[in-house]
Subunit: 340 residues, 3 copies
């Protein structure tokens, strides 16, 4: 796809001030350090401003405070990173999807498919499914009975959506994601093993949600698992049954929540951060990488218990082995203090 | 699916005593706090008994000790949570699967398919596969040459089962699961990279096993990887080559075992708990979340080395940075004690 | 598949010295402890040499120093484990794939498919894809527009390869792997949620790479994500956008790198080890299990901050709770030392 825009066009879309030649033609989007002479680049953070000296880009998106740092054409905006984000779609290389239903797709006659929907090869859509207008479903994806997807959403190849899952509009789901598999619910029968608990709830997903590759969102045991609007989930995320994830919350790779856990709005779980079952986190909580939250959090803040100082393994071994003496160390210190 | 049962019918199945109107009609299963007037609910633990006061359910499954806490109809049982588990299937919303072979399925003529088997659209079944009676295989799933699945099992959409995998009866496998991929076996060639080791063993999975979404069970290097009966695996679990998992063992999300590791019976690995290669755990071992087991365990107990106290990140930074001094702290304390 | 080789044939391939009957016929590959009388086994490490006393194998691959420990036929080599790795393919049970294009595959006419390529049932290949000679693509796999795979590669069932992904020769990709999904890139719009950043870069993967089941490699934001030659990735690995992984580097299950992270050559990330974004690790760095690297590493060594001593949960609780006092412990100790 050949793209070609004048700086004037881009500035108009971004509500930017042009410094330089507004008729200059941009044909691509580049990183500061590797942009070509007809690319547009962006200064995502002032800390990279030294790179502007050698930047070959045809124009740079930046903020007023850095507008003198680049000699070439500039688009001056309030938030350079957000402006880059907004314009990035103009340079996307993703192929446009034909708005048609491939003849190999297996679609139950009771399914209701909106206008301008794309259904790729070997997609399977079961009974009573509803697909909203403008939504794309790529090859080999499965959508179970009674599930719904809103308008303008995009489901990649090899996605599995079980029955009775309701997904909003402008949602993007990546390959390998599994939505609506059974929650992990069993009652012990002692030595006789486990009694499976049928997971009869569904999943409800809001609008403008992103769901990464190989991310799993389990269906509820009785009531639904609920994902709010504008939630963004990276790859390998796990949302257990009956969890509720508040609007705008972001979860990085390998982060997850156990059953019936509630995350507030605008929360962040960094990579590998987990929250145990039935815990509740208020809005605006950040949990740092590798942390394990095992209680409610009622105060917005950043929380941690994961990352230790990094050492050579030799140093780590000497120090970490003392963890088994830490209680003793504390008690012995107290004893010395008393004598003191 | 409209469900409708009298309390008498349910009591008979659960071997429960009815307190109240045994002809009362139940149409659904509800949670204590949200059950509708014709739902049946359950008191999973005595600690929730206060919720009975405002519970609108038409009947509640509970134990003798709490039978006076609910004014409406009660089903009095020995184990309320287990009883709920048993009855849950009566209210399942999962669509019934047509017991037929979809015309788009690609099935090798040498495959032996039992009675009352359902094979969904675009399923691929290779040569010499055996599928037992009553088993369901959903859309777009792949089953490789020579593999076997027992009776009454259920394989969701987009599951990948490689060649020479033997799976028992009443096994449930969720979407995105991968069974029989190569174990991670390579011999170093130094600067020349890695010599792949062909993984010529298979996978053997017992009866009544549950395998979660995106869970992987690798084939053995020479001998088989073995999963016992009634093993339950959550999503994103990893079982490496030649591991052996004992009967009734449960593994939560992101837990995993490395190559040739042996877990006993009735073990529990909590979320993100891992066991290194060639380790052996006896029966009835529990490993808490985020722990890393790097040695054999011969004594049934609960083991941990993962979860630290949760703090604000500011507090955590101040404390965790001292980990690099912990050996020194210990030695200095000893020195003071000697002088003392 | 019946396999049958004389020791002479095997010795010739491995450049081994035969001790015993070079006309002895081998029909399988066995482990030391379970090999049958016509199997060949190997002594992977001198520490298992006691097992040779009871080993029933028809022959054992071992090194000179242990050549007297087994009474039967021996193949004496320089590196027994590497020799086993090399010969293992001779005994592989994987079915041979018919070198044909299944009639149910959906292949865009603009795709260029090399000689001796196998394309399985329901595979979907979009426009302008190139598949090199001798490559196998198994059932239900998706390959997006403009992507390329080299020669002699093997892609398992249910793999998802997005558009504009370039994969080298002799690469093996396992089921559930997702290559080229969007990197996790969003700009904050504050209370308005997140602005998606189109991920316009691709993925470039070298030769002789192994990619495990459910492993994800995201496409770049602007430039490409790059995987070197002979990189081996286990299951559930995550490679974020614009990461670069050096030649021969190995990543175990659940290990991952965040965006724009650079790993050198011959590195090892053990299970669950993660590297934060924009960090750079030099060649020959090992990161132990469960560690979190949050800074650059410029010195080849083994690094850790993950594994603590394993204790019973009761002991762990007593010790770990002191972590919240560790800063105080350190300061109080210093105070005592000053008084001393």
């Amino acid at each position: 796809m050949m793209t070609s825009y004048t700086l004037k066009q881009i500035a108009s879309f971004l509500d930017a001030k042009v410094k330089g030649d507004e008729d200059f033609t941009i044909t691509g989007l580049g990183a500061l350090e590797s942009a070509e002479p007809t690319d547009i680049a962006f200064l995502g953070s002032p800390k990279f401003k030294k790179q502007l000296a050698n930047c070959r880009a045809g124009a740079v998106i930046l903020e007023q405070a850095q507008s003198d740092c680049f000699k070439g054409n500039c688009l001056i905006v309030k938030d350079a990173y957000l402006s880059y984000a907004k314009i990035s779609a103009w340079f996307d290389s993703a192929p446009t999807v034909p708005k048609e239903i491939h003849k190999s797709a297996v679609i139950d006659p009771s399914a209701i498919i909106g206008d301008e929907v794309s259904v790729g090869p070997n997609v399977v859509i079961e009974s009573n499914v509803r697909i909203g207008s403008g939504t794309d479903i790529k090859a080999n994806t499965f959508i179970g009975s009674g599930s719904e997807i809103g308008e303008g959403s995009s489901v990649a190849a090899n996605v599995s959506i079980y029955h009775n899952v309701r997904i909003g509009s402008r949602v993007k789901i990546h390959s390998g994601a599994v939505i609506g598999a059974d929650g992990f619910g069993f009652a012990s029968k002692g030595k006789l093993g486990w009694q499976k608990i049928s997971q009869i709830g569904g999943v409800v997903i809001g609008d403008d949600v992103e769901i990464g590759a190989c991310t799993t969102i389990d269906r509820g045991a009785i009531n639904d698992t609920v994902i709010g609007n504008s939630v963004i989930l990276d790859n390998h995320v796990q949302i257990a049954h009956n969890a509720e994830i508040g609007d705008n919350t972001a979860m990085a790779a390998y982060s997850g929540v156990a059953g019936s856990t509630v995350l507030g709005k605008n929360c962040l779980l960094a990579a590998g951060a987990h929250v145990v079952g039935h815990a509740s986190l208020c809005d605006n909580v950040q949990v740092m990488a590798h942390s394990l939250v095992f209680k409610n959090i009622k105060q917005p803040d950043s929380y941690s218990n994961g990352a230790m100082p990094l050492m050579t393994t030799a140093e780590w071994s000497k120090n970490s082995v003392r963890m088994s003496q830490l209680n003793s160390i504390s008690q012995r210190l107290k004893k010395l203090e008393k004598k003191d």
